[in-house]
């Protein structure tokens, strides 16, 4: 007899053995199958060869995705007084890893061989800071017993206490009032599987089948966008603010985000230092003028 429907409260979500206070998670796994049809025997009715369906043939290993949306909290991302475990968990500080994230759990299902594709969060007034992470998964999932999320006194990162700042190349942070902030880091990965490494018959004894030999880390780019009262004036073709007579020797523009809990506990700091990619200004009736500024940093 199958288990009853799993309640959200009983659906524990953990990544690399670390529990997350998620408000949604979407796990998908799919084989890559190609339909194989061949020419069959002659058929008098159509005066030609019948088409025979032979099979679905696998063309790659099992591949899936995990999209998880969660709240950043002090309890979960501060260990031993170090507030930046969130960076380590998502390997942002180290520039991502080729090693798989194992020991993952979504509801009743556990799985290994997971690799981060992107991580992002939003800060907006009076809101809890909500993050999103997206992963690629290789191999299959296994069912586990239900594990309830253990509630504690969660102290979420909160935009009321958290703050961010922007400094344009030629200006200071005081020039801007930040209304909201977005952070997004994306890693491009490549994957391949060896032939011989998967020829052993033991591969067939597990549902996982072939898993990649290497999921490499390619380019890593992070982008931060703020909504503010101002735009960057005198933006030049290099993406810098140029107030002097030379476009050379200017510093990069930078956006910082400091995440703090409602109790004022420091949780994490994120930043992007690079060139201004875009900016815009919108004014409409009944609204203040709102500017959007995006800075991109090339990590790798």
């Amino acid at each position: 007899m199958s288990d009853p429907l799993l309640r959200f409260e009983d659906g524990k979500i953990s990544i690399g053995g670390k529990e997350l206070f998620a408000n949604s998670a979407s796990l998908s796994i799919a084989p890559n199958l190609e339909v194989e049809r061949v020419y069959g025997d002659f058929d008098q009715n159509i005066l030609g060869a019948k088409t025979e369906f032979v099979k679905f043939a696998p063309t790659q290993g099992l591949r899936g995705q995990l999209e998880v949306s969660f709240f950043i909290s002090a309890e979960q991302f501060t260990e031993g007084g170090n507030p930046n475990t969130i960076s380590r968990l998502f390997e942002i500080a180290e520039g991502m890893s080729e090693q798989p994230i194992n020991d993952n759990l979504v509801g009743r299902y556990k799985f290994d061989n997971m690799y981060l594709k992107s991580f992002s969060f939003d800060m907006s007034p009076f809101q809890i800071v909500r993050a999103n992470a997206s992963y690629d998964i290789y191999g299959s999932v296994e069912r586990e017993i239900d594990r309830r999320f253990s509630k504690s006194e969660i102290d979420f990162a909160h935009s009321l206490k958290s703050f961010g700042g922007i400094s344009a190349s030629a200006g200071g942070q005081d020039d801007f009032e930040i209304a909201s902030l977005k952070y997004n880091i994306v890693v491009n990965r490549k994957v391949h599987s060896h032939i011989r490494a998967n020829e052993h018959t033991s591969i067939n004894t597990r549902a996982d089948g072939t898993v990649p030999v290497r999921v490499s880390v390619g380019s890593i780019e992070k982008e931060m966008t703020i909504e503010s009262n101002e735009m960057v004036e005198r933006l030049n073709v290099y993406g810098d603010q140029q107030k002097s007579t030379s476009p050379f020797g200017l510093s990069d523009s930078k956006i910082d985000a400091f995440l703090l809990s409602l109790q004022g506990e420091r949780i994490a700091r994120f930043s992007a230092s690079g060139k201004i990619q875009s900016q815009s200004m919108n004014i409409s009736e009944g609204q203040y003028a709102k500017g959007n500024i995006t800075i991109k940093e090339i990590v790798k």
Partner: protein, 770 residues
Amino acid sequence: MSIGNLFKSEYLTHVSNYSGDYQTGVDYKKFDFVYYTGDGLFYYARQDAVDGAGIFIQDNNRLSLIPDGPMTSDGQSHYILDTFNLLDVPGAEIKVGHLLNIDGSTGNNDGIYKVVDVKSDVSSLNGNPDLNGSVINVLPVEGSFKNIEPAGPNELTVTAINAEPSDNTNVWAHDEFFFDADYGSTVNFRANNYKYEYGNGYYILQPKNINSLNIEVDLKFKNRTNRETNAIVHFLENHQGQHEQDVPSPNLRYSQGISGFQWDGDSTFHPYDNTEIQSKTFYCNDWTHDLNFENDNDISVKLRNLDTSILKKLDGLFVADIDEYSNSEYYEKNDIVYNVENKKFYYWYGDQSYAGKNPTATQTEWNRNYGYHLDVNTDCWSRKFFWKPSLTLSVSQKPRLNEIGMGAGYSQIYRDGINESLLTLELNFNNRDDAEARAILHFLEQHYGAIPFQFNPPAPYERLKNFVCQEWTHTYNYKNNHSISAKFEQYPIEMSASQVDNIITPIMPIAGELLCESPVQFSIQGIGEEIKIDDRVKKRMYAKNGGDETIDVDAMVFYNDNVEFSILTQNGNADISMIIQDDLIADDFIFTLPSDTSLPFDLANKTVRMSKSYTEGLAGGEIFTVVRPDGDRYLTDTYNGVANKFFQNNRGVITSMARSQLGMPDYFAYHPRFLVEQFIENNKTNKIPAGKTAYWCVVFEGENTDRFVGVSSVNQESGSLDDIVFVDEIDAEFYASSIPYDQGYGSLLAISNSSVYKIVESLVNIYISS
């Protein structure tokens, strides 16, 4: 770089050698490559090469060997359990990557193993609390754990061995391309044929030479680390003839070119993962390296093989290890067998699995349609190309017509004979599993692009036609998923596989032909041991059936001249006493000696095993071992603790080898009976099968001749003193020989149903010494 270094092979590549010269005591990672000054060659690390660091554990009651480790993609792993939990003390610090040599096992577990994991303080290995301590998880390199071996009183030795490049091929490769390619790699086949066209669309294809079928293996390596990429490119750059011993010359001997390298078992893939292909020589002078990102490279490598002889079809050209048909084996679709009857390969076509379905039935008469072997069970076995092509297929035709140009731009087109539009089909066989891909590839290579085969194209072209396939490509898409594309060209003559085999009328088998050796020389004048006139000497005489049918020998008649010859055990001319040794089994050499009490050494009624070997000459003969039955076998009997063996030479002297060995007197004795007589009586035949050799024993009956008079001191006519004189029965005539020998003659007439000569005469001669 000095001029001297310029010519050292160490510097003849573009890729930098970051590991430099091999250093003992240094750990190397997989894909590192080193220059080994010991032999001046480069070596490439197949796996992490961890220095042994002198680690040596030798103890009893300490180490347990447990076969049941986790199953890995590299096979079954094992555990070494250190019950003392002392792997962190100096001298025993075993770590991942070490190669351990285990010696002294009483459970047949000795061998070399690679460490893949080390854990201390394990309280319950495999859920068994009795198994606790430090655990080394190992993978077999040479040998494997065959039995559980708990720590016990026997002294086990575990040594971490150093991986010197020149003597550790498990860790270092020199001439073996071991790099594991990606899915999507392809193998291209192309046959080099002469095409002879005869008009009306008729043609034949003829291989240009015995190495006409070439392959090019296009290996894809994607997303590889710099370490691996450097090793691959360096390996290829370093196999362009830099290390050849012979100086290149414009007149190369065949074997003097670049020696190439092997496509190693760690790189070959289905269905080329066989020792046949791994022993072939490959070359590479075409590769591409794309540097994509900081540690991300794509490489495409084309390996070529140039010397696969199509004469080695039986061993398999590229797809090997095909078993012979077995009547007890259950076969299923796409199984391949080699049928020894007609020396052809057959492919299981049926959807059901059966045993006992012979591919052919042997016929007594040769027939143009099927020769001597009629294909049977054709609902199971096939020699047609029966695999169905994948969608889609494009068929274009361009009929062959003649066109004549006339004035004012007018042209007239007219027919150019028959077979004006032979089909060319570009077929795809996509997403095929391992078994089907192997069968298709084997089928195509066994026709090596020149032999036509039957194929039924999709309707409306579905009439069974003959095709040849001169080029095809195999792509390994994914595990158990292969695609093959092949170009089928219609062959204008429609024939079945059996008809193709029997285009040439075979040489008809000839009737049996008896070939007897002649002359048979008992002794040679002045050479070797002499034969006296009163000796009794035997000698084997051989005959062969040189024909294709069994010969019946009806009579053997000795016509003696001046001496007496006989055939051992023969009782009358029609009593044929031939032995066909090739047709005998071991038990035929065991027999019981007659109850002749005059036999020396108490041999009467003894059961003996005669040796198969026989030595010629007067001192030669046969060995007999006294045996006693023990159930369904025979054990050697002993005499005073020594194997009770006898040797009887061709003069009849029996030597007790046991007595001789024990230093006892009277170890030999003459007996007029040859012990081999009973063996001949038991096994003699008058039939010589085709191609077989028969023998029989001719005996010189010196002491029995009634024509012997003796040595005369009187020269009766032309003789002189000490001549040997022969006279006939009535003393009417005598013959005197030259001093001091005379030659005796006899002729053996063998009468048989031989096709060429019914009667074959062999001359037997003997020199007799005074």
